[in-house]
Symmetry: D2
Subunit: 270 residues, 4 copies
């Protein structure tokens, strides 16, 4: 793919991105947690549950990119402090999204992995800013973005000095309405043949439908994904965002077991 | 899904569609063969190879729906006679596409399963005609079709009297260009929750890229597909159509082994 | 555009397709009428109204390509006889859709222009059949079809012997939901630079929304369209198909006046 | 459309956004200039040419959102100073894109209208920042964005305190490849019925093809657009970005004449 200098696979070994105990690109990692941090009680409850179920990292939104200005925008600093507390208690590294280049530096003090969301995949100021830092960056594919554009966005981060990029397929926008987005799993082997960076899959946003999350998670594993990022909530119907698509802790625990079983099987193939 | 009477899952057991030794919806089936029947030598060579690799049925085009009127349109009756011969020799049931309602009846004398291709998914005359017959129908999803429209097309066949329909996801058209189409694997669990019909996946047209076929085949299995339909050619570079995407027999044999291993693993999960 | 022999513009003058008083490609033509022929009274009422408003031809469906097998499928032969009567009374040439190659020959006895609908744009049997006849063919663009594929479908008709093809842009399928389809008006100048065939626009299906029909009709004229095909119904709320998008006769009459005014203005520019 | 409080049309008169002599939403306005400011000589040459041709404002990029980090990123402050000089000389108000919320305040000192580009349509930090200022904001539709999402992005700006928003349709991403994007002109009447804000069209990015720019500009006018934004370059083949789609000054002058003629005609209709 033209124009990729640092992101292209060439002869490099595959990159392993580490954040505390989380190792992306070596083995299989599961990141889980609520869409938004809503309260200390909510987050700690979910953090303990996903830890018990075998998650490798905790996700939770402090700054939410919402279509409407009148929708819940996240708790900001308060959420970051709650996330910090959850890390102290569970030992899970924290993944959270940043929306604004001005937030990159100080938010990095609180969390382990910075997420650049789908809507910001071509927010080049934000890409340059996370590229100047040293925190690992989880870069979601834009819902309208080709694989080539996505890898060029990764190239922005690497060329600014930060080699620790994790790619995340989260569904693209098509005419189909049964699923909220169309999860493009072919992006997994595509990314693996084009780059040396780890790639994970987000079946929650990729399908937007509870019943499709487990089959698409198993499919992601079989396609070669290095991990998953999944939304979990203990009271999804009361969630302040993404109500309809968060797994209950028990369903998440079952998912982790099955996902790891398929991973073992796939590893044994080669 | 509104308006589906015979296709909807309701309380029916899942349908098993049989065609000779092929049983779709019970276990896992692999259909393989060249895009087009080009000669007796070509077809028999490939038929023997896919049989040896463990395929359950042989595909081969006699009538080709080509974008250009000047492209190879298929050998027609001559191809059907060659397919018949391959069945006699290998015992594999034959799958071939029909394009014209006038061909349904006589082509049914030669083959075991009639395919309705993506471009004809809403060719309602053709749907009614294959619905009046008794041959199993492999109904591909249109590249522009929602799952709801696809299932309504199946409903045309069932309501005309033929309950033997196999659905086949083969990729939808999106803005992404790295793959020829975007294989929508979420259609597999969607179809399983909406209908009682078997569903298979076509990774060849769904990706259009050799390197993506195996990972997407494994993913299809993990997502719950009842089978695969794959293009195989012993000299892909000389093929009269779909040169760039046919597997060599050895690659196909490896694929079948891996696909069946993942299937066993997935079956053991539930 | 590669592969087009008879359809390509090259040095040919632009083709004018004639059907009785209708001349497509010379001046500006308006085709109007109901989605479906529902009764003699309904059709004659609408035929008189569109004639009075200045339409050049009457459209009306006898065979309807409906997503569901349980939806109204058209009155068939009965509709054709009603259409014939409307022609006798108004002098308007008749445009109707054919779905099945077996219907091409006998339906041609009743009508002046055969329409190949969007869902059948790559129904190659049907294309070959209308290509063997001599009736003008109104070829709609598939909702999933590139301009290149569309022109190749026209090439099927021309290469089978029938040079009388009218192209019709009717909207493509995208993620946008405010309009039923996305009317791709850039197809108008594209077709004019690539081929010598006349091109018209269908703002009814292209928008699926009454309030958008007039502005998009005016836009189509300004973009260089050779005409429009518009759905008109005197009681849209009682229509058996496409209720939500048919114009009332008075709105249609106003549309024709405005469209012709813009056409005069655009012609004066060059 | 749900959730729009300040942007919805309701009973408000249509908003007129003024920036010096530029009045958007009253009459018809043409904004023109190069993709990027490349040098003082280049910009002044083009500024004089578009002024002479009848443009109402000058566009020129100082910060360029480029897919690749290795592509020309714009001259930044140097470009802003050149733009200021062009305003002094020609009297044309200046439109330029901002990419970073940190740039909004100081860039506002140099220019008259801030553009938020398609890739940043859901960069909510940037929207809030331009909403806190008082400069008019030209908000482009995201290439993947529904009209509902776009208007919600406008709502971010209005709800932050800045009512001076100009919407700009610039093409959406579809499967069609003949044009670079698919210009969705139905967005023009849609926006006019849903909001009170002015709406303009960008035929340059909307088509990406010189030969389509004029017909689509005329179509935009006929559809009810309040204006156009067009790329012009005196040596397109030497441009540092968007080589293939900039009009020469003479072609632009002819375009302006034709566009204004169609506008007069359309205004006379109502």
């Amino acid at each position: 793919m033209q124009g990729l200098k640092l992101t292209a696979r060439s002869d490099k070994p595959r990159t392993v991105v580490e954040a505390g105990p989380l190792r992306l690109g070596a083995g299989f990692a599961v990141i889980a947690g609520p869409c938004s941090v809503e309260s200390e009680l909510q987050l700690l409850t979910i953090a303990r549950a996903v830890k018990a179920a075998g998650a490798d990292a905790l996700r939770g939104g402090a700054f939410k990119p919402r279509t409407s200005p009148y929708a819940f925008q996240g708790l900001g600093l308060k959420a970051l402090k709650i996330l910090e507390k959850a890390r102290r208690e569970t030992g899970l590294p924290i993944v959270t999204e940043v929306l604004d280049p001005r937030d990159v530096s100080w938010v990095s003090e609180f969390v382990d992995v910075l997420q650049v969301g789908a809507r910001n995949m071509q927010n080049f100021s934000l890409l340059k800013e996370v590229g100047k830092g040293s925190r690992p960056v989880l870069l979601k594919r834009g819902m309208h973005s080709t694989i080539e554009e996505w890898l060029n966005s990764a190239e922005y981060i690497l060329s600014a000095g930060n080699p620790r990029v994790i790619l995340c397929e989260r569904g693209i926008r098509t005419f189909e309405v049964y699923s909220r987005n169309t999860l493009d799993l072919s992006a997994v082997p595509a990314v693996r043949e084009l780059t040396h960076l780890p790639i994970i899959v987000d079946p929650t946003h990729g399908t937007g439908r509870i019943s499709l999350i487990e089959p698409m998670s198993l499919a992601a594993v079989a396609a070669g994904s290095d991990g998953l990022i999944v939304e979990v909530h203990h009271h999804p119907e009361e969630a302040l965002s993404d109500k309809a698509q968060a797994l209950l802790p028990a369903a998440f625990a079952a998912l982790v077991r099955r996902v790891r079983a398929v991973r073992s099987c796939v590893e044994a193939l080669s």
